[in-house]
Symmetry: C2
Subunit: 406 residues, 2 copies
């Protein structure tokens, strides 16, 4: 169960996006594991992908198709990542796109493929293509919840959210879903997210907004420091609302839309960490007063990735020495340790580089007993800051990753 | 129990080094937790220390004493790291040195202090100084095994070794002990090691040899990526063997001595990883044919620190996709993934960037079932290489670190 409990999804349909799912038997459990998104004509598509050099075949192919053609369908399977297979993997991804293209009467290049699951096992193309007709037959605008479920791997719950807001007198909606709970780290990790809006937005601007939103959300989470081979965030704008195109940052609607998009992305990113493999706690690491954002980021990730810090959180143990040791080994220049202060929520645990005078173990324990904790580190070097969301490291993380073949 | 089982220590005494231990009740269990090394006159001392910016008070003070004076005693306590306490910690370390100095009739600056254990709790100076007379009273040359035990924290066994060899017709001996099993990472981690030889070696040359030996041993191990605030390796040369001073790299004895010193350091470093917290497997990550040693190192540590790779080893799961994904996210330039090959022992699992054609799951499983495994990654970019020793990530790692306050 995710930190904070399971939240019921209330996902608003997006006019112009229809979704169908099917069970191809690729996943180890019997459930829908294939998802098809059908995009209305004129839908603009933006995407960001994993930066892992061993990117999976579907990532390579999706990038190629996005460049050469207009996206009319997304084809997603869970249970198999189609990664680490060389030319065979690329051929498999192509065959899947061709399979859907033939049924939907489009070109293969109009299909963007996505896969998540086991690395290095051949994708069972026949199984997948055999259920595509069924998935296409059942497409509907209200199938977002089914898709949220069908794209899951080790996730314990579906993740999604909608925001409806007034944009210059018009009601606009953004709906997004995401999956991912292990191999989570900046630059996309093992996560997939599909977000759509009914507003008309120019493609270049859509891509720019997605980059900005991903930078403050999906690129600021880490579960285990591992970046996956496969993952992607796709943002679609269907233009179904009949208002003038948003095509410039000077459009007064740009700022509000971007802020709502960031809200959706941050919600989804946080949902992924809450459902981090084995997670029992949500930890927000905020590093402030750094000389540069890069320094703040380095310190934040050093803390967020420390197994000793993460096991201390799991144990609800106010072991601030481990946080201090992580700050001390972070690769930043000229840190004056005598000026560093560290807070657990509002409790000052380290002041001027040493245990705070007023600090008591009871105060630390009271914070550590909570499910959601903020660690704030002040470096006293400048005005830059960076924050990252992570979770604790529990027995269940080991159990899940020792038993699951991801 | 360490990977490979417990090895009985056979430690040769070093003429000129006498050791005494005592129980001060600083450690949570009742056992000797204070160790005193008494160094004969003319003993030359070299040392390397943690690079963590939050280095502990004893590290600061030991460096200062080494610089200003001649080391005549080492004073080590386990159970409390005396770190993260600011001026109070420094005062505690000074009081401990003064306490031993008064008993031994030397100056405080002749004492090098070392601490390992919980960070951020005040060191119980009175408890420690109260047992120093007893420790000094029982100093003896054959107390290396007692010291190996007294410096332990979460270690499950004592670690030490001796090498006796002929050096230009003279019998020379090197004996060393070490502790450490968590917070283990290059640049000293939570580890302490004390090594001595009876040969006469000039101080600058001794320091140079220690740096070289540490670089290929203690600086190539990682258990959990955390570098501690406290740790140190000390190398002592007592000059008790009556032969000419080794004072130059041109001395024909230099090369052989250095190689034996490296042997001792590598043995001790490996013993630390074998006893890594919760370790069930010893993993040797070798990265070859890299463009630079830095690149090879980056790839090696990215693999060695991946929780997904480490849990796969714990599960004896030949999940080569996780190794491949770690290589792919390592921060090196221009990697051609289509040329990368990966071996588990002699089994080629990835060839030309994809699953090797002849590879079978049975072959991978046969290797993964072993206790000691070599992962070899060929980058096909150049002639540089780097290797690092690590262990797997098990339930017990989480258990130990959730329950122990390190």
């Amino acid at each position: 169960m995710p930190v904070g409990g399971v939240v019921a999804l209330t996902l608003k349909a997006i006019s112009g996006i229809r979704i169908g799912t099917a069970s191809a038997g690729i996943s180890q459990t019997i459930r829908d594991d294939v998802t098809v998104f059908e995009l209305a004509a004129d839908t603009q598509v933006a995407a960001v992908f994993t930066k892992n050099k061993f990117c999976a075949a579907p990532v390579t192919l999706a990038k190629k198709h996005l460049k050469e053609s207009t996206a009319k369908y997304l084809l997603i399977n869970s249970g198999n990542a189609n990664a680490g297979l060389g030319d065979v993997g690329l051929l498999s991804a192509q065959q899947c796109c061709q399979g859907l293209a033939a049924i939907a009467n489009v070109e293969a290049a109009n299909v963007l493929p996505f896969s998540t699951g086991v690395i290095g096992e051949p994708l069972p193309v026949d199984k997948l293509t055999a259920v595509l007709q069924g998935a296409v037959n059942n497409v509907a605008e209200d199938n977002w919840p089914s898709a949220a479920k069908a794209i899951m791997t080790t996730d314990t719950c579906e993740k999604g959210c909608s925001r409806t807001f007034e944009l210059n007198g018009t009601e606009a909606t953004i709906t997004g879903i995401a999956k991912g709970s292990g191999m989570i780290h900046p630059n996309m990790a093992t996560m997939l997210s599909y977000i759509a809006t009914d507003m008309p937005i120019q493609q270049e601007l859509l891509q720019k907004m997605l980059n900005k939103a991903a930078d403050v959300s999906f690129n600021r989470i880490t579960v285990d420091g591992d970046t996956s081979t496969n993952d992607a965030v796709v943002l679609m704008a269907t233009s179904k609302v009949d208002v003038p195109l948003i095509d410039s940052q000077d459009d007064p609607r740009y700022g509000l839309f971007l802020s709502k998009l960031k809200e959706v992305c941050c919600y989804l990113a946080e949902a992924i960490v809450r459902d981090g493999e084995g997670a029992t706690k949500l930890i927000n690491i905020q590093v402030e007063h750094a000389r540069s954002e890069q320094d703040a980021k380095e310190v934040a990730y050093t803390i967020a990735q420390s197994p000793l810090v993460k096991t201390a959180f799991f144990a609800s143990n106010p072991n601030w020495g481990r946080i201090l040791a992580a700050v001390g080994r972070a690769n930043i220049a000229n840190l004056n340790v005598d000026k560093v202060s560290i807070y657990l929520n509002d409790v000052c645990i380290v002041d001027a580089g040493k245990r705070a005078e007023d600090y008591t173990e009871e105060q630390g324990q009271a914070v550590m007993n909570q499910e959601e904790i903020t660690v704030r580190v002040c470096l006293a070097q400048g005005d830059s800051k960076f924050s990252v969301l992570t979770c604790d490291l529990s027995y269940d993380y080991v159990k899940i990753n020792a038993e699951y073949r991801s």
